[in-house]
Amino acid sequence: MLVAESHAHTNRDAGVAVELSGARDRELVHRIGRGDDEAFRDLFGRYAPSALALARRIVRQPFLAEEIVQEAYLAVWRNPSAYDQRRGSVRAWLMGMVHHRAVDAVRREETQRRRVEDARASDPIVVDDPADEVAREVDVPHERRAIRAALDELPAEQRQVIELMYFDGLSQSTISERLGLPLGTVKSRTLLGMRRLRASMAGVER
């Protein structure tokens, strides 16, 4: 009972912290709209390490990843009014732009199959940087743990399609071909997995 109450407290506290964090992000975007450099720097500091990790995971080229993150932040600066609170948090918006640009870059540059094969042949492509450890320490360990746990709890076949789609930038039809599955199966596994993640993250996410 005590344990359950403790978990409830932890989740509620995390939820409050997340909401405060979301409100702060919205305020930063509002200030960016007024040309506030400091707000831009704050937003950069908050999410650039995660945005860069995402871009590097997808494009597997550190310099290209930096360019992608920079472009996404420039887009925020140029058009902060594009952020629509009804469609999600600032963080989701920003990560969506990074993801979209990274996937575009991958699909433009060469075929996905070749990229994945090359990546597997020469792993690890992204060289570990000792400073990464510092970035990890200042990040958001609670959310990270919760999201990883949610991913781990997915049935393997659902996690596989979600990871191929999100982290490798593969389209539903490419995954269908790659795994030899009917397209409808890929779609249904994706939806089921995303529904589970949505439920799992509900108490943590903005």
Partner: protein, 249 residues
């Protein structure tokens, strides 16, 4: 209550970046049929955007080069200066062409087009061809398509793919910003100085666009995109944010 199962599936896949162009078009149609204020649609978009955005946090963050922030800030101001100059140039070029009530005259609407040079941006073109010809059922295939990248001040990339002499075209975009609340983008086929209204559209939440322009292109020498009221317009009411010279014959 309307059925949202199909929309949910497509939104979930789109949030992961995995939607094929045909399904993207299908989602755009479904969403349009529910209207821009469909609360359940917005909720699904927000929820799945959060899930996808959260997945990024599953990765260990990496150290950001200390110079990257300053380089980015330097680009901010470089970009602002360029934009300011462009605004000034337009003000000089446009003079006092705005009519009372904010509606621009046809001359003002078309004036920026004079400066447009036809351009084929290879990466946009290549992507557009790939997207437009990738339909398994052939419904999206264009024969020997001509792809022209739009130019303009708006954020993102937009291209039109069409077959000269054939009706219809595809608009393909990425990184596009959402038009202001109550507004949509509208395409126009312009022959001489006469604009013919085309479809209205709103990019996906990830800024992508794949939509069919169901109309006769013959005779048009320019395609333009303006921001219009959600009900769409019969004549442009704002200056184009994207323009492209096309050859339809």
């Amino acid at each position: 209550m309307r059925e949202h199962a199909r929309i949910e599936e497509l939104i979930a896949i789109r949030s992961l970046g995995g939607l094929d162009p045909q399904d993207q078009a299908s989602l755009t149609e479904e969403m349009a049929s529910h209207g821009p204020d469909c609360a359940e649609c917005l909720r699904l978009e927000a929820d799945y955007a959060e899930v996808a955005g959260g997945l990024a946090l599953a990765l260990d963050p990496v150290a950001v080069r200390s110079e990257l922030l300053e380089e980015t800030v330097a680009r901010l101001h470089g970009a602002s200066d360029v934009e300011d100059r462009a605004v000034e140039d337009r003000a000089v070029e446009g003079g006092a062409a705005d009519e009372p009530g904010g509606r621009r005259s046809r001359g003002s609407f078309l004036r920026p087009l004079v400066a447009v040079a036809a351009a084929l941006v290879l990466f946009v073109g290549g992507w557009a061809i790939g997207a437009a010809t990738s339909g398994d059922d052939g419904t999206t295939a264009l024969e020997d398509p001509t792809v022209v990248a739009f130019q303009g001040d708006a954020e993102g990339s937009l291209a039109v793919a069409y077959t000269p002499g054939e009706p219809g075209a595809y608009l393909l975009g990425s990184g596009l910003s959402t038009p202001p609340a109550g507004s949509v983008y509208q395409a126009w086929m312009i022959s001489g100085e006469v604009p013919t209204p085309g479809p209205c559209f709103v990019p996906s939440s990830d800024g992508s666009l794949f939509t069919f322009v169901d109309g006769e292109l013959a005779g048009a020498d320019v395609m333009a995109v303006t921001v219009e009221p959600a009900a769409c317009s019969t004549m442009p009411t704002t200056t184009p944010v994207f323009v492209a010279e096309i050859q339809t014959v």
